[in-house]
Symmetry: C2
Subunit: 219 residues, 2 copies
Amino acid sequence: MKTRDKILFSSLELFNERGERNVTTNHIAAHLAISPGNLYYHFRNKSDIIYEIFLEYEALVDYYLRIPDDRLLTLEDLAFYLESVFDGLWSYRFLHRDLEFLLDSDGRLRVRYRDFTNRCLGAINTIFAKMGEAGIIQGQPEELRSAMSLNVWLVITNWMAFLRTAHASENGPSLSLTELKQGIYQVLTLEIPYLTPGFREDVMALREKYRPRLPEPAV
Amino acid sequence: MKTRDKILFSSLELFNERGERNVTTNHIAAHLAISPGNLYYHFRNKSDIIYEIFLEYEALVDYYLRIPDDRLLTLEDLAFYLESVFDGLWSYRFLHRDLEFLLDSDGRLRVRYRDFTNRCLGAINTIFAKMGEAGIIQGQPEELRSAMSLNVWLVITNWMAFLRTAHASENGPSLSLTELKQGIYQVLTLEIPYLTPGFREDVMALREKYRPRLPEPAV
DNA sequence: ATTATCTATAGATCTATAGATAATGC
DNA sequence: ATTATCTATAGATCTATAGATAATGC
């Protein structure tokens, strides 16, 4: 692997593990056993590294959210979308953690992220519409569908923060992909009232697969 | 006002305006025209300041979420809960922005915040149950109600991040309380399918008051 | 010749404290 | 006497670059 790619790879790893805020260019260089000077030869600064990593994330999610235009959606499609999106969130989990700061520090990223969000919202909206066509959920007026799509987005993008802040033990936050995917349970909860009788049972069974195993801490 | 209180007040102000990450103890002292030494006489470090501010926030939200046990809930109660919670979010908006880092840096705060979250989730759950009793929404099995409460929490706590990251213009994020309260529209969207015929119209009218005025950016 | 890497470091912060001095309360 | 404040600074980072050196490609 070229040094430039190694830097991107290690940065992602360190950012995810320790949080972007806790990782400096020195840490990244030290982790790769290269000099800081070398790192700065390949990237102008930390923002540039983050920008490149975001581009990877964006491409991945755009790829996951492709929507077939020649056939109806199936339950398998729905399961794939949910699994994939949470896989993506997991692989680039540092991004959503410090997102506001990152966007404040980099105008390019701000614009790009805004467009990305709108594209995702559009995709969720289309998925809802096509689930209506496929008879999985009842059709909804456009306005309700938009608001529901936005709620789905809010739940998806906030689930990890919830796990890390509310759920974690005193010992510090150790998050697993399994826990993260319990977010799917929450997303499907949003759809329950709209399920059609023909698909209700199957969707509820899908949802059940992601039910949190461990009891929540006492309320 | 005593210096100690001035420090808390100014810190909150600066944190909200610029983000906790961008505000150092030096900035706070300079803003108050006192010496850094003086600041450290009153607080051991920045974490201590944040902890005290969190205690204020916690007390405020706990106060807002009190639930009457001698009468049924009304629509006015519902409107009050929603308005108040978003007011609280606004006044202490820096907290949710850098929450994960703050909890990682302060174990006391981590435990305290976890308990706070669970208390809030419990309150939302109880409010749902009492709205069922009052006939505003249909009664729900406990399990669905818990999952719905959690979704309400996720939408509430993530709405501001959404505004700041996705909605903001290139010119940088200028967020208003009015925009923030459009989150109420999203929260009430979650309840639509559960509304009873007798209250449906009134709740939809309440929701309508918070509909975003400006069109969302094109998707 | 060009590309990649290292050494060394200037300059900018930031945190937190020691020790002196001023203000206040009894 | 005690409480509040200031001055001055040590020590710890971190970013980013200049300039030297090594490795690579034609």
